[in-house]
Symmetry: D2
């Protein structure tokens, strides 16, 4: 992923040097588990000595590994050759009974588990709290709700944030399930059946469990790629949840709406041509990044149907999308959290828009009162629609309000008292169940 969208933590996780260190970590775990097994071929103390040696000689050298790979065209064997250069002859006990994919897939599991952990932490510590704060702060702030982009009925502004809170919480649960699904390694050798005769299912379990992983149920040469596709999809779904929030914050920042505003740093410039512009660029940026996440998820699902005991076509895809999607997702979570935290919610403007929406939002309640008073649903609908559309047509001309029109229609007045009619226009009634929704969403 390009530097612009990469936080240092993720850059480190996906660096070559980190990858080599994890290769060694997994090899050492396997050697230690194999050494401890009954009738082990490995002399006692080997794993401990190798680990100590590794600590002494310091980090492996990615450029040396690349040099060897150039010659032998096999990444893992290049790593092993380099380790043997560094740690000397005892290093031959590393990788004993393993195949490259044992190490590659187990390392990938460790990287993905950590990457998702960082993302989940960002959700838990930054994004959800920011949403909760804005939601709670505006639990009672009335604003006009919009469906189809058209004024509908009033809602509370806090619901914008609470809805995203609930949705992102669902997305988090998916990422967590996917994290579990990919926290799976394998050390079962070339075709997944422990054929080398040295690493047994028990050795595998011991080694993986020392790394915090479990073993693939039925491995081929590799771990099932449905697991990775689930992860990529869960990230795409998190991206889409952030996108929905971002789309709405872009709408609310439109010049005609102006109900919220992204923080604009002192010194910031909005447009090279138009010095007057302040643009919702964080929200727009997040919408774009969500597209990248779902594109990668669609590549991941094509990686599942590999040939026989595996083909390696998934590898080039994963070298790109695994770092890219986790890195982007982390960036999005952080940027979304900052966006929400720094957002000005302009309650006075909300009130103004609500009032400009007129009193049409009461149309449903009036219709229901008429039905209740015995009118057929259809007749009530048509009566109310007639007055409402007349309001819209005359809007802004000092023409009678919706309430005025209804109050002047005998078909209404013969069925509803003035009191019953004006009760339909009460904002407090409209919002009375909002606290229940908050309780339902925030109970945890």
């Amino acid at each position: 992923m390009i530097a612009r969208y990469t936080r240092p933590e993720l850059a480190a996780l996906w660096s070559e040097s980190r990858r080599l260190a994890l290769f060694l970590e997994v090899e050492l775990a396997a050697t230690a588990a194999l050494e401890a097994a009954p009738s082990s071929p490995i002399p006692p103390g080997t794993a401990a000595r190798l680990r100590q040696l590794a600590a002494q000689v310091g980090p492996l050298d990615p450029s040396r590994v690349a040099e060897i790979e150039q010659r032998i065209q096999h990444e893992l064997l290049a790593f092993l050759e380099h380790v043997e250069e560094r740690l000397g002859p005892e290093a031959r006990w590393l990788h004993f009974g393993l195949t490259s994919s044992d190490v590659l897939d187990t390392v990938l599991a460790l990287q993905l588990r950590e990457a998702t952990q960082i993302i989940i932490r960002g959700i838990d510590e930054q994004l959800l709290p920011a949403l909760r704060r804005q939601a709670t702060a505006h639990q009672q702030t009335p604003m006009i709700g919009r469906t189809h982009g058209i004024f509908a009925e009033p809602i509370a502004a806090g619901l914008i944030f609470l809805g995203s809170y609930a949705e992102i919480d669902r997305a988090k649960a998916r990422v967590q399930r996917a994290q579990k699904a990919i926290s799976v390694g394998k050390l079962s050798g070339a075709v997944g059946i422990y054929g080398s005769g040295s690493v047994t299912p028990e050795v595998e379990e011991a080694a993986l469990s020392s790394l915090g992983l479990t073993a693939e149920t039925v491995a081929t040469q590799i771990v099932g790629r449905d697991r990775h596709a689930e992860l990529l999809w869960s990230l795409a779904s998190l991206g889409a949840a952030i996108e929905r929030l971002a789309v709405n914050l872009r709408h609310l920042q439109r010049s005609e709406v102006r109900e919220v505003e992204e923080a604009f740093a002192p010194g910031q410039k909005g447009s090279s041509a138009m010095p007057h512009k302040k643009n919702p660029i964080s929200a727009e940026n997040l919408c774009g990044l969500a597209r990248l996440l779902r594109a990668s998820a669609s590549a991941a699902i094509e990686n599942i149907a590999l040939w026989h005991e595996r083909d390696i076509s998934h590898s080039s895809v994963e070298r790109v999308i695994m770092p890219d999607s986790t890195t982007l997702c982390d960036y999005m979570v952080q940027r979304a959290a900052r966006l929400v935290s720094g957002l000005s919610v302009r309650t006075e403007r909300m009130r103004q828009n609500l009032s400009e929406s007129g009193d049409l939002y009461a149309s449903e309640k009036v219709m229901l009162q008429l039905v209740r008073a015995g009118m057929s649903r259809q007749s009530a609908y048509e009566l109310v629609q007639r007055h409402a559309l007349a309001c819209v047509a005359d809007r802004g001309l000092g023409s009678p309000s919706f309430l005025d029109r209804l109050a002047g229609d005998p078909q209404v007045t013969e069925r509803l008292s003035g009191e019953a009619l004006s009760a339909c226009f009460e904002l407090a009634t409209q919002l009375q169940h909002v606290p229940t929704i908050f309780m339902r969403a925030l109970r945890d």
Copy 2:
């Protein structure tokens, strides 16, 4: 979905008449719950009377609803008008305090729950048992494993089916979780806050619970579309699991391989030009259908980021992909089950291919024995590779076998006894842990 890929059960579920019946079901549930609420506007007994009336007049008429929709361009209101025609004035108590989406989304939940139930049943009763049978039957059948399409080491034929068993079981779990995620309705009105003043959160809960659903945590006008995207993705992931199986069965049916064979009905014809052909058309068909499922999943994720309290752009997408994906997925499960059940596994041909693969599969174990005997990993690798590539180069010319070559190399013989060397070529050793894998996969 076209008739060719639609089973009658799914056709019925997604028919217009079923849809209308479910509309009415949901309206009646809401009316009953509202009638039972404290200070209800609805006269006691209304819901029961309406339900009875509905039973008397029989099924609603899709063509009449279409006719009304033509005029008013609103599907749900057309339904209500038709119901009012049928059930008379008391029908005005239906839809009281609801918005169209309350009914549409709740009905969609019912349809999707049932569709996924049929799919899950197919997995449980047809597909998984078929895979289990073939797996168990061939737990001890040796065949050559292939990675990159190249002979690797022997495996047991049953693992082909066991691997798909485990993967489809994981896919089933995703479908089940998604089923739960979409078993969610809403009756919270126009903007999701029970603004009509009549249907409260308690009424919603009672009505939905009578339908076996729960309520959306924070609804807008509709239920969150992340739920539906999760479902569509879970179906795509099931499709990909079936695709992996199908790809492998296609490979195993190649003329040069012929290790399995699809059932070929008496009277069946393979090619219009070539009367000698028998083609793996079921497996090929399944591969294509998997592409359709993932395409629909990518449309579903674009449906999430709707505007404000909802826009209706998702609706046209869902009218197509919801029936299509569930119908296709059901078809795939059934067809895959038949494919697996009817498959001939040609064990003698497997033995023949295994023997033609030569004895190179032992290369790993020989290398490990040399390492164990003190050789560096690199030297051992290069020694073994030299003999192995010589074997491949001379293949088929009555040239010495891999074992012969090794047994003639002093670098080998000074390190390994003849017994130790030939032990590397034992098939029984290679397959010794297969039963453990079976136990691990089939424990449930």
Copy 3:
């Protein structure tokens, strides 16, 4: 495709009976060309007699073909058996030297050519003229332009339509190129090399040319699937062009904007709960359908990499997406044309929004004048930005206008005359090059 989105013309084109008629058409064309070839096996007059017989016995019977296919599991052979039932023993000369795919792919080419022709006609006769009319009608109508959803500088309303005109015209060119790419058949037999010894390249050319098609350059058993993928993508690109138009018309219909309005039929109802609603449902519908088109295009590209001389995995995909995408695209073109034609453009509201946007749009021209007068770009930017942001902050409070503020700043007045300053605020200057753009776009 579901009936709701299928026009009768497309339904007929993709019907089973039409498919059978085209099968016969292609078989007859091949038989005629083969009969006319030197040293033909076919007795003179056969093709003419078969064509006459076919006309006499009338249309083939899809249900009978389905019945036969049930038994032999091969669609094309079922068709041939039915034809033999109908036309008698001379029918054995049909399909002579052909393979099923010769007929299937050539028929598919005919159907796709016709489907795209209908779509292109819709663009030419309905959609582009509608856009041109609205564009031309509003070439001089000023409205505020928006970037990032924020007021930018004024534009002419006609540009909204003119931009879509140009984009849809580009999309049409892509569909036309794709139409050419798929107007390709093949009659080269089982593996594409005319191996039957009867149908030669010359016979193929004669037969295809009588159908208005050309021959695949290097066929396998089938025509290259890159051609069909190009078509599906061109339809998706047309869909996206319509989507951009629809998105913008949705924005312009927002309650806060109200600059355009979809036609609302007398009797139409907008919402079951809210009788006051008029929603931009056509534009929303089109946005959804565009998602379906691109999903199908992504399935089509997966159909390209078939195995060897072909595998049949593409077939199940194409049975669905070929009718679906062409049918949807046709529907979209027609609905978009109606949407544009019926649209009210509310010029008075545009003027009002433009005036509410204030006079900030002049900020660029003022900055440029200051630069021209010798100020550095940066200083000029910051001066103008300072006044502009002050305007925004005070907006709506009777506070000084942007022009007032600038006119009161000595840094400005010492550089610009009052005349020069107010010239920056002229709308006529802003729109002076619009006619040139129109000429550029409409020259044809």
Copy 4:
């Protein structure tokens, strides 16, 4: 894109320093054109002086621009501030009357044009010639053709390469058309209507033409994104063409087939566990990369429907996919060319497989001869199928050949002479039209 898949030429093209150099190039072109216009605000000689100054001070400093961007959060304004630091006060004439997108989109056009030029050159100079060489070398090499993975009829091995030659040539034509579609800049200012009053359509045309570009017909703030989507799709289509070739080369390298072999460098290692392995890793790698290209194309099509006169959501997507897809595509072309060039085609093995396929491939010709002799198509089909399936069932048991069986069937012998029958089994007849196909494909 990660280094592993990036050639230096593409890395340089997409580097930050190259981007800044192109920013300056475009600004200078615009300034020069504006200076030359009638009644230009820019003093004569300015552009030339700035160009000279720029040459003197040397390349711009990406890290300084990044530093400024950090403060003002606007990339293009940061560039301009840095240029002003470097070139002094006359730099205020740069960007006169332009908006950021004028420069960004025009620079993007220059980069994409160059990137596609490199890709096209690779196709023309490396990939197509390699395919042509292999095709021509094997125009007469017989091999068994396979449909559904099942032996069909013989083809010539050269057709494998010739088919890809034709398909990649079609893909190249798409890339060329797309290159033309994106060789379009714009200098029409903030909302695309030359509103600054200084840069006119004529100035734009002069400036763009000096850069080898044309002007967007109807711009918004930016160039239409349908153009970029077309490019990304054309690259995906090229990727799919390479994928089809790669899939087939993988099949032909299977252990059971072994008809071709990727070059295996001396010293190369195939597997860490199995020293005997040589794997088709180039072909597998290419299959994976094709998935990435189509994923990016699907993100690109979502970038089309921007809001109003533009929103900036496409920007984050393009920062990633534009460099990534062009870089990957270039890498694929080069690697595919090396793969094809270095490929061993093992003609003796092809002969062997062909002979093992038996003589069933003649089934079509026998059937046609029977039809010709008066048998009905159906009866002929069933007769031939019966003998053919018997052959398959008895295969390898020294059982009679297909020809033997037919020669022993009186239904055959009473219709066909021995000579006519054996003529059906001639390979030369089967391949007689291959030269015509070659001429058709290679005429240029």
